[in-house]
Symmetry: C2
């Protein structure tokens, strides 16, 4: 019997979030992503990673946290959960464009940790204009023990060629704190 | 109102497939992946790409076809749909390992076209041992017009380091035929 459906969920605590305001600055946006990662660690509802996607008016389109182990799904990284829920909400397979190609960006992804090889590739197709990153790959590997996987040598340049601007080290220390919290709590590294 | 769920489906015609037998050779496995890509083109249910995942006994665990436009989801490439449905069926986030780390492979992904940057990254975490590819990146870009995105320079070597063997050009001409069929039919390139 083939499975012909996929069903993935964010944790129930997501329903209690108030994300109705605006998030004008890069720090505001990253702060939400880090708060999501922290809540995911506290609730033991997945790995120590959070993401949020913002529209051209600095409002939240979607959020995502890591759900790999609870959902038995290697795709369910925070960035991917945010992309998929944003796309289902907007019914756009490229978040910054309508079906007829009309541009509706800029759309921003803020993520508590540098995207791994999988989330990097997904970022190329998701239709975002700006990628804000807190903790870097080395932080993730040394503090939390997660492998980031193979990236193109000039990964930022390859995104720039496709119109995606990368901003790194936004509130990096705060995000590092959550990775340490996960490690100290004995969180699963898969 | 945040979306906290993701629901993706394969086309209804998948339920009519008989994949109950065994697929011993690389050609048998790739032949199924190409047949899936052909059916997806004929039914106009997505892009011209199909994949199938096989267990250690050469039996089908799951199948996937491209669903990006019908499901408004940039993640919904054939390989990713196959990974996610296989993982939901087996409840393993690494297909070739149980939760306690016990190895249950080899697990094989057969795909009608070389994985793009997104599916390449996802392949690193999905828990497969062998990756069988029919059409190559140039075929996909020149015959069907799809961008494959940025990969590490030695993408095969990076997979080999992680225990994943790549076999290319299996029934390549047959897969090229489906890409031409999609182009001639005026299929959407996004």
């Amino acid at each position: 019997m083939l499975y012909a459906q996929v069903h993935l969920t964010l944790p129930a605590w997501v329903h209690d979030l108030d994300v109705s305001g605006t998030y004008p600055s890069d720090e505001d946006k990253i702060n939400l992503a880090i708060e999501l990662s922290r809540l995911n660690v506290e609730h033991r509802s997945g790995g120590p990673f959070g993401s949020a996607i913002f529209d051209a008016n600095d409002r939240v389109i979607s959020v995502g946290v890591n759900r790999v182990v609870p959902q038995a799904c290697s795709l369910a990284h925070g960035e991917i959960m945010a992309y998929m829920t944003a796309q289902q909400r907007t019914q756009r397979n490229r978040l910054n464009a309508l079906d007829d190609g009309t541009y509706v960006g800029p759309v921003t992804l803020a993520t508590s940790g540098q995207p791994c090889c999988q989330c990097y590739g997904a970022t190329v197709w998701a239709g975002i204009d700006r990628l804000l990153i807190a903790a870097n790959a080395e932080d993730i590997e040394t503090l939390a023990g997660f492998d980031e996987g193979p990236l193109p040598a000039d990964w930022q340049g390859e995104l720039a060629k496709r119109g995606i601007t990368v901003v790194q080290d936004v509130l990096r220390d705060k995000a590092r704190g959550v990775l340490e919290q996960y490690r100290d709590q004995g969180g699963v590294v898969y």
